[in-house]
Symmetry: D2
Subunit: 134 residues, 4 copies
């Protein structure tokens, strides 16, 4: 996602924090959404699908919150009365919950391992941006 | 949205709380998403658009979190390790923030008044379901 | 979704077709999105989940296109250079494809029957609005 | 989005076309969604917002169809009864419509130029995948 940083720098509003933190978090959110959608679909296609019911549900929920958060922090953050921190807190928590489930399956399913890593990166990026926003 | 309750009752999982609370909250989330999308669009079309910049942004952010939450609580709640409460908290807070902005414009713009009402109903429905989930 | 019609009538733009057709289609899109999300989740929770893989995937795809279309037609239609018809065609086709799959399971699974009905209503509402937009 | 290709290769299903075409198109969809959300927000913050009303609306519509399509083609394509081509056609058309509007503003607004480029890349990626799917 090469455009994120460039869009940020060419938008009329001020960026109230380090632009790299914002760009990294936007990218992590969309990346995690995509990984979660793909992991849920891969789980649905596995033969032991019955053991992956919780994983499918948490993947889909995490994808939904990452999608919302990726969009919200793509908009101007200066002057925000609290919407971005609110979304970031929920997204970080969703990523933590989903990562914990995917990590249980990671040793024997690579899509869960890759997805868990994307969740952990997104959790961390949300926490970093949250701290910076104060 | 007549189907919400019927889908709930015909799904294989147990419903851990009063099904009416779940159905009402699902409906309130999708309703609020639609009102926020329409209100943002109406604001964009107003002549005093420049005074509505914050309203447009908060409408779009609220729509995104309502969309995510409406989907998340449409899935099985029994056995959920915390995803639904996490989404409901963020959604209630998003609705509160958006309602406060829309209420400022409500006296002279009906789309903001209608949207503020949808936000307050959704905030309340999220809080009620959150309390019931414990 | 009582607000759809009221929001339409209180937006600054002209409505280029019968407002009832628009409101009905917006409602059908969000309704079908919700039914598809819930049906996919119910299928995931069924014991014969392995026979429902295609149904889960088509439900999720249909939900995604209904969500996009419900938002797109919630915005001003006057002056649209073709975005709404483009979305409506894709949504009607998604609903038809999903309905055909759900109808196969409808005789023995009520969530698929309810979902198929929501898909058919949405397909029809999209076709009606498409015809009216010309 | 480094994970797209790796998720594809570690999913249980067969990939019916060149995996690079799929990965490139998934990335282009999420990239275009993000650019459109950010461009709409930048337009809302511009002083000549009144001249950008169509651009804001088309950006938001294009973002919605890119989001849906990015998710749909992140799922297994083998055995798909037509959902992916249906979404890809609508997405390519949405990107074309949005690009044409953004290109009008591109000479004097960099966010519109960057967004138009993302739309054209996504249009092309959707057309390429569509051709490959046959």
């Amino acid at each position: 996602m090469d455009n994120v940083r460039e869009m940020l720098e060419n938008s009329p509003g001020a960026i109230p924090v380090d632009a790299d933190l914002v760009a990294k978090c936007v990218e992590a959110c969309f990346d995690c959404e995509q990984s979660c959608v793909a992991c849920a679909d891969a789980c649905v296609g596995e033969k032991n699908q019955n053991e992956l019911v919780a994983c499918i549900r948490l993947d889909l929920a995490c994808a939904d919150l990452c999608a919302a958060t990726g969009r919200i922090i793509s908009r101007e953050l200066a002057g925000d009365p609290g919407m971005a921190p609110n979304a970031l807190r929920a997204c970080a928590e969703a990523c933590r919950i989903c990562a914990e489930e995917c990590e249980r399956h990671a040793p024997h399913m690579d899509h869960c391992r890759i997805c868990a890593e994307a969740c952990r990166r997104c959790e961390e990026a949300c926490q970093s941006l949250l701290s910076a926003l104060g």
